[in-house]
């Protein structure tokens, strides 16, 4: 009985056909209806353009007048160099630059101060301190020395005489005056010859008088110091003439 029921239940499944199985055909295109394109409003378009997602091209900023000037300048220069005279100038300009560089290197190697060739002394290095107190170039040594000698202030006179010598050495470019240098620094700067030994003695006397508190100098003592200074100055001027 059970087997019979099972046999009856097994009914072969078949695809259900559509009730209306009539064949359909595509309609011909409708050529009579007018198609209208819907344009977005200008406000909406501007809104889209301002959105970052729709900015596909990087917009370059406008050039400033300075940039425009240089752009035109380089354009003009390139056009100029394209011409025959421009090419000649370019070619010889390179040679001239090489010659100038070579001369500069040679002068530097020979340690020749060529800045004086243009009638101007080299500009001193900027100093980070006040040099007013020791500005030997701003002192009237003749008047000050005379006043100190007249007053009998021989210690001050020795100092002024020594500073005067330093000024003369600096004027002759034998030393490079800088307030942070000591007297012995200047001694080592002097070129070989009779000057260093004479300057050593002058410095020794100055040191003893100025730093050693020898403020009880007699006229005879001062005369000795003065003679040493004058002898050095004589040596300096003689050497200058010989040179």
């Amino acid at each position: 009985m059970l087997l019979v029921l099972l046999a009856l239940a097994v009914v072969p499944a078949t695809a259900q056909r559509p009730r209306n199985a009539a064949t359909t055909y595509p309609l011909p295109p409708d050529r009579t209806t007018r198609v209208t394109l819907r344009q977005p409003t200008p406000e909406r378009l501007r809104g889209f353009r301002q959105q970052r997602e729709f900015q596909y091209v990087e917009v370059k900023s406008e050039q400033s007048s300075w940039d425009l000037f240089w752009a035109r300048f380089w354009h003009w220069l390139s056009e100029l160099l394209e011409t025959r005279p421009g090419k000649l100038m370019w070619e010889y300009g390179i040679y001239a630059g090489l010659v100038v560089a070579l001369v500069f290197v040679v002068l530097k190697l020979l340690q020749i101060d060529f800045t004086r060739a243009f009638g101007r002394s080299p500009r001193p290095a900027a100093l980070a301190y006040d040099v007013q107190a020791e500005d030997i170039h701003g002192l009237d040594f003749d008047a000050l020395l005379t006043a100190a000698e007249t007053e009998g202030n021989y210690r001050l006179a020795v100092r002024l005489g020594y500073l005067h010598v330093l000024k003369q050495l600096a004027d002759r470019s034998l030393i490079r005056w800088q307030p942070d240098k000591t007297n012995h620094d200047y001694l080592f700067e002097l070129p070989a010859g009779p000057l260093p030994e004479a300057f050593r003695e002058l410095t020794r006397q100055f040191d003893y008088v100025w730093y050693g508190e020898h403020d009880d100098l007699t006229p005879a003592h001062y005369a000795q110091a003065r003679a040493t200074r004058l002898a050095f100055q004589q040596l300096l001027s003689t050497g200058r003439r010989a040179a």
Binding site: P179, T182, N183, V209, G212, L217, P219, A220, Q233
Partner: protein, 350 residues
């Protein structure tokens, strides 16, 4: 006398006119020291000569060590191993006829190993202080930066106040008292940086460099000829404690112009304002520079200080007392560079 060099200057007064022959001048030359420094000079030469028996070269080091002895200051010698730091310190101690002791600093050294300790005496039923090796006139501390800060702090009191306080009792070290310490550069393995407070107590920090080629050849020749060089026993004591006391008193009386005191103050003060430093030098540094300059001037035969003395000693006095900012250190600057910059910014009194 015609004054060709100063055309505007008036003629000299008759009494100012120098004699043609300097020998004829009756007045004595004023350009000599008023204090007789020949005694000091003889002792200094004798010490140099004794050091020269063993040490080749290093004249500048010997001069600065003598300066420190005369200025009553402690010295820190820094250099790589093998440049005769310890030997120099030992030899210098031998030239002085004073009690000498040596301490080798190690990482496990305790303060009581340096200063001494109280031990209990059962027969007296009381504690008795047993003095440590610091109780000597010349104390050589070898490789001082191998001990940690705890041990270093034991030296603070004795280096500055010349005394040790133990269990409430004050013990004074003998006079003269000088610490000669050696150390390897801080980058060397197993070393500690000394505390700033201790560094400030050293008068000088001297960098011992390598010898020149000529000096090294002389070292080799001496060693080869003597099969080991001159023995230390050849160096004899040439200065007693009493002599040293007298010489120090002479140095103390050296003349210093007020303008030079101001110069010292400006140099040291500038270390506190320099942008490249985060720790400047203390007033103790100013005192060290002053005392050192007085001693150096005496060694050079003068009874007064000149700006050269101050400039010469600026680096040894200041290099261990200032600390560079990390930026400056990374740029490769050294303390000596900064000291040089400072000196270039300050006008020499003249």
């Amino acid at each position: 006398m015609e004054n060709n060099l100063n055309p505007g200057a008036p003629e000299l007064q008759p009494e100012l006119t120098p004699s043609a022959n300097p020998v004829e001048q009756a007045a004595p030359a004023p350009f000599t020291s008023r204090t007789d420094l020949s005694h000091l000079g003889r002792h200094a030469d004798a010490i140099r000569q004794e050091l020269g028996k063993v040490i080749v070269g290093q004249q500048a080091l010997a001069e600065l060590l003598l300066t420190a002895i005369l200025a009553d200051g402690h010295v820190l010698l820094e250099g790589v191993p093998g440049v005769a730091k310890t030997l120099t310190a030992k030899l210098l101690a031998r030239t002085l006829e004073v009690p000498f002791s040596r301490l080798q600093f190690t990482p496990d050294l305790m303060p009581s190993d340096v200063l001494g300790t109280s031990v209990f005496r059962p027969n007296k039923a009381e504690f008795e202080f047993r003095a440590g090796p610091i109780f000597a006139s010349i104390v050589l501390i070898d490789e001082i930066n191998r001990a940690p800060a705890k041990t270093q702090s034991a030296l603070f009191e004795v280096m500055e106040e010349r005394q040790v306080t133990q269990d409430g009792t004050r013990y004074t070290v003998p006079e003269p008292f000088m610490v000669l310490a050696t150390q390897n550069p801080i980058e060397q393995e197993g070393t500690y940086r000394l505390p700033e407070a201790q560094l400030d107590r050293f008068l000088f920090k001297l960098n011992v460099g390598y010898p020149t080629v000529e000096e090294e050849i002389a070292i080799l020749q001496g060693h080869h000829a003597g099969f080991g060089g001159t023995p230390l026993e050849a160096v004899r004591a040439v200065l007693t404690a009493a002599d040293l006391k007298g010489l120090r008193e002479q140095v103390r009386r050296q003349h210093v112009e007020p303008k030079l005191l101001e110069y010292i103050a400006r140099v040291v003060g500038q270390t506190r304002a320099h942008k490249g430093l985060y720790l400047g030098a203390s007033p103790r540094a100013s005192l060290a520079l002053l005392n050192g300059a007085k001693a150096l001037a005496a060694l050079r035969g003068r009874d007064f200080v000149t700006p050269e003395d101050i400039q010469y000693l600026a680096a040894p006095v200041l290099r261990h007392r200032i600390q560079l900012t990390p930026e400056r250190e990374m740029e490769g600057h050294t303390a000596d560079d900064i000291v040089k910059q400072i000196l270039q910014q300050i006008e020499v009194p003249r």
